[in-house]
Symmetry: D2
Subunit: 355 residues, 4 copies
């Protein structure tokens, strides 16, 4: 941490900064410059409360040199973390993984059909919400536990691992029981109680960027999960808030190479929420892969015109199939590949297992 | 809801929109214009999933005419809701209320001293965090339940009602036991599980605006609380995310008169978090009151230089005393007044009650 | 300037940074820390192109310690600059000045009536656009030079100094001929050719903050004017772009005390454009004064219902009169006063002077 | 335009809205709904000043149904506009065009070498600034007219058409004399005097999106150019302002498919300014092409370490060559191709022409 003094700061003011730093248990190193003095704080363990120094007289600015996160940093661990949802369905390696499925689980028939359709087209994992965070208390809130059971059925029928959202600690434990990856949505990115809870569960977590979250905020939220012992975290760019209302969110694809430089964790893109518009999902999914994403998560519905939620941003099955073909070509243009769907002995066996 | 067709939309496309609206259970009213047709959806009960219509061929745009919130709206209830934390400490009437106290509860001595100081200067309620949402898992996270006990002690010693934050459902029940108002922080503004939980507790709630929340989002989150039966909600503007990093947040004071027009709920301003800088707290607290806020919540610490958190945005006791004097003058300039501190028989009695 | 090295930066990488700094003509001072080395660049004259160092291998981040502006800074000139439009109409002293008038000059009758109305209510200067920057090429673009002549007439009839916008260099010279202050609008805040042009004209300039401009950007644009020799600059906060569309812009009142700390130039608030809504102009004008603004600029129209532009954000004459009364009370609450209208011998004399 | 009344609006209030619309010369069509009445304004020619209606009593909201732009709209002209800078260097067709070159023209040697390098790697046009809009008045402002002469020389030596920025009307005429395309930078996107000036010059214009500009704003600025008669406009996404300072701007790639749906004008991406960081230029250039951009404009410098401006975001020649190869592969993945460099008889001939 560097404390920049005003250019007419007095000797006493500089001394007081030095003394305060020492009282806080760190060492201070004043560095006189041409026009102003800068005081370095040495020994920062990431717990320094800068606001205390910031308001001392004569201080112009406090500059943070150390990054506030540790375990998520590439300086902490240089090699990519590989997060696996099923054999061959791995995020963070050379292959990119496509997660697809409807916004909400609506019925056994709908989710199983969706799973078959997306598997056939080339998806590596199935998405579908059982607990839905809706901005209106009067909107459809998801099927809850029965929805989780339907997701588990779809997995048995297709072999696709399942990603689904949890809204609170109780829900996280339920999701962990039925699914392969616990999604934390954008609205809960700084719900620290929930982050701690999933940090103590031994399941991969898909952590979505909040609408007002900087990349540093996103990494700090991931740090909460790692700090509790769970290192299986996949990050997800899904659009941030901006001033143009022609799109629901502003899909920040530059975040992808930035996160990959700063952190060892994999990062994927969500063009469905990132844009909110079906005909923008396809170009932006392609752009996410071209930008280097380790995967994409896309809303696909067997019958979007009758979806209970977000129908307008869901792809039709044939659109999704064409998209996968394009993503394969783009992956190969940058030396990567789309991961194949996980091996699967067939619904017969699964059905047998169910019986 | 209005569905604006493209100007070369065909008869068939318009018919399909009409049919879809009817399938959803509403009536459609096509209105041909000079260059394009608009289709009105009549009977909107606030549950229409517009995305389904939005993606039909020939649709240029879907426009929401009805507001998505109901019970928080001034159209639902015309008169101001008055939220009372203690006799005479009322938000939403003519008087404005000043909530003051430290960022975190640190010790019995600190919080009782803070309570005395802010009461003496003119505060109507005490703030202080026992559960702290910190962006780093390694920062001080608050004293938890012992902190709540200290707050209750400070109330007994000064008569000031207490406002403190809850981070999850379990915490909300604890806070309700010890304090007079449950604060939901900006990061949890869309934590719907928590909103529902406090909606079922019979205690006033202070709901802070999220960093990326529009005013409509804030009102929708309040709607979650009212929908569960709790109408005692105070809203709070505390700064939103913007592009200039000279301030921690952008304090959006225009939100105050806007909320007051749209909703019957009281709204206060938080200049401490709204700016993040001590020397901006004073002018911006004045500005909040001049803009019509029903109160302000201000960080004051008996000894800011040694605060465990946010010391740099906490006022010194004498600064706070001067601020209250200025707020009185500004209130009176616009025909309002600062509410007096609640009547209090004295620490002796309270101590007696404790014994 | 400080160059923060990655924590595993090699000796060679640090040496290359040092060498590059020296090649650029500055001195380098490496400071090894606990986990990483920081290299200070000494002798920064504000012309260093940091991008050259930023991309050297091993560099994690470049931090700017010196402010990029000079002459506008309070470190350059400690005392407030006082900008005078007429005797007694001074920005930057104890008194605050109210500039008022219609969005556009529409006719002799309209602008003279507006000038009389706002003078009677307590305004110190008259605003009114002759050159209008409209987002549509098909909208009313202002009366041009005849509009300037009407403004000059209104000044002769009322004694109020006149503020009006220029859109290009040619227009700036015309405005300087007829008016007392050249306004540079938000859209031209970084039109450097125009800034240079008004920097060479000996007239006060009212520089509005651009919609995406940080406070530093605003000060840098003012620096362009001062660098050409014109120090008579009044800054103006008029709302920036944000994500909530309930207001046209987000009125950033915290900018006012921040600018006053960083710069010696006066700053005023424009609540009409800052909010875009008539019933928000009054509370936000009050808030601007409470936040410490050196003045406000408010749209007032003798007959807003028939205004040619921005009628919906213009105050009615009686609303403006009440507002001035409130602003007087708020000014006095913070130890300031509203400047009286400039002395004026009367329309008779002026009319005589005209004859 | 639709005027939504409050749900308790009186008969008189509705009548006043109707009368006001008729006074403005349009027809009004009231549409009673379940809870509120909406009044349609019929005959909107794009000149309606909505603010006049917006502030009438009983009006809740005014909704714009017509788009404010005309000639730039795809509803005005359905087929893509093709803008040609040289034979075969066409924007808006199947091929994508790569514009490359240094931030600033520094010397004959530098710009000719840059032109050769980028042509050899596959660029179709040369960029390079002679007039530079710098945020500091003390920074290098470009070589001016001599810089334009050097660009013309580089064209003679390589056959590449030249794109360069103009900052004012005088500069636009000079640029038109020497170059093949006049660039209007982000800071001047709403400099309407300049837009009108280039609208009257018969040269292609590259119009960059402003930092706070919505897509509608960008199209409205293009409308200014078309309204003066110049239809040869290429739009350019170059990043907008957002809250995360890890990148200089937020590169909004979703703008590309959105503009292509709304307008017939070609649009390209500028990943150099869009990100401000060299190692993000390559992935984001790929992403722009994958999102469907009609071209990219990339900063390449023969020796970035010694560039006079923006060295840190300029690619090294070999990086650029690899990028072109990747862009070819991605173009082909979506059924497009990178346009070949324009045919060129050789420097000899050009040199002859010079003599």
């Amino acid at each position: 941490m560097l404390i920049v003094m005003e250019n007419h700061a007095t000797r006493e003011q500089i001394d007081r900064v030095v003394k305060t730093i020492e009282e806080m248990g760190y060492s201070a190193r004043p560095m006189p410059g041409e026009t102003r003095t800068t005081v370095g704080l040495v020994g920062n363990d990431g717990r320094v409360d800068s606001s205390r120094v910031e308001s001392l007289p004569g201080v112009a600015e406090v500059i943070h040199v150390s990054k506030p996160y540790k375990q998520v940093s590439r300086e902490w661990k240089e090699k990519n973390t590989i997060v696996s949802l099923a054999p061959g369905v791995e995020f963070g390696g050379t292959d990119i993984v496509i997660i697809a499925g409807p916004c909400s689980v609506e019925s056994e028939k709908q989710i199983v059909e969706a799973a078959r359709v997306v598997r056939a087209a080339g998806a590596g994992a199935l998405r579908g919400g059982a607990f839905k965070p809706r901005s209106s208390p009067y909107s459809f809130q998801g099927l809850g536990k029965p929805g989780l059971e339907m997701l588990a059925l779809a997995r048995r029928e297709t072999g696709l691992p399942v990603v689904t959202e949890a809204l609170d600690e109780e829900g996280a434990h339920l999701v962990a029981e039925y699914a392969d990856c616990i999604q934390i949505g954008a609205r809960n990115m700084q719900n620290y109680s929930l982050l701690r809870a999933v940090g103590r569960i031994n399941k991969p977590v898909l952590l979505k960027r909040g609408m007002a979250a900087t990349i540093t905020d996103l990494l700090m939220s991931a740090e909460y999960i790692l700090a509790e012992g769970n290192t299986q975290v996949i990050l997800c760019e899904r659009g941030i808030r901006s001033f143009d209302t022609l799109t629901r969110n502003l899909f920040d694809l530059t975040a992808i190479p930035i996160v990959q430089k700063l952190s060892h964790l994999p990062i994927i893109g969500d063009p469905s929420h990132g844009t909110g518009l079906r005909d923008k999902v396809i170009p932006m999914a392609r752009a996410a892969v071209a930008a280097g994403a380790d995967g994409v998560i896309v809303e696909v519905h067997p019958d979007p015109d009758h979806a209970l939620s977000d129908g307008g941003q869901s792809l039709f099955p044939d659109q999704f199939a064409r998209l996968v073909t394009e993503l394969r070509a783009i992956s190969s243009a940058i030396g990567r590949d789309v991961a194949p769907a996980p091996e699967f002995a067939g619904a017969g066996t699964a059905a047998g297992a169910r019986a």
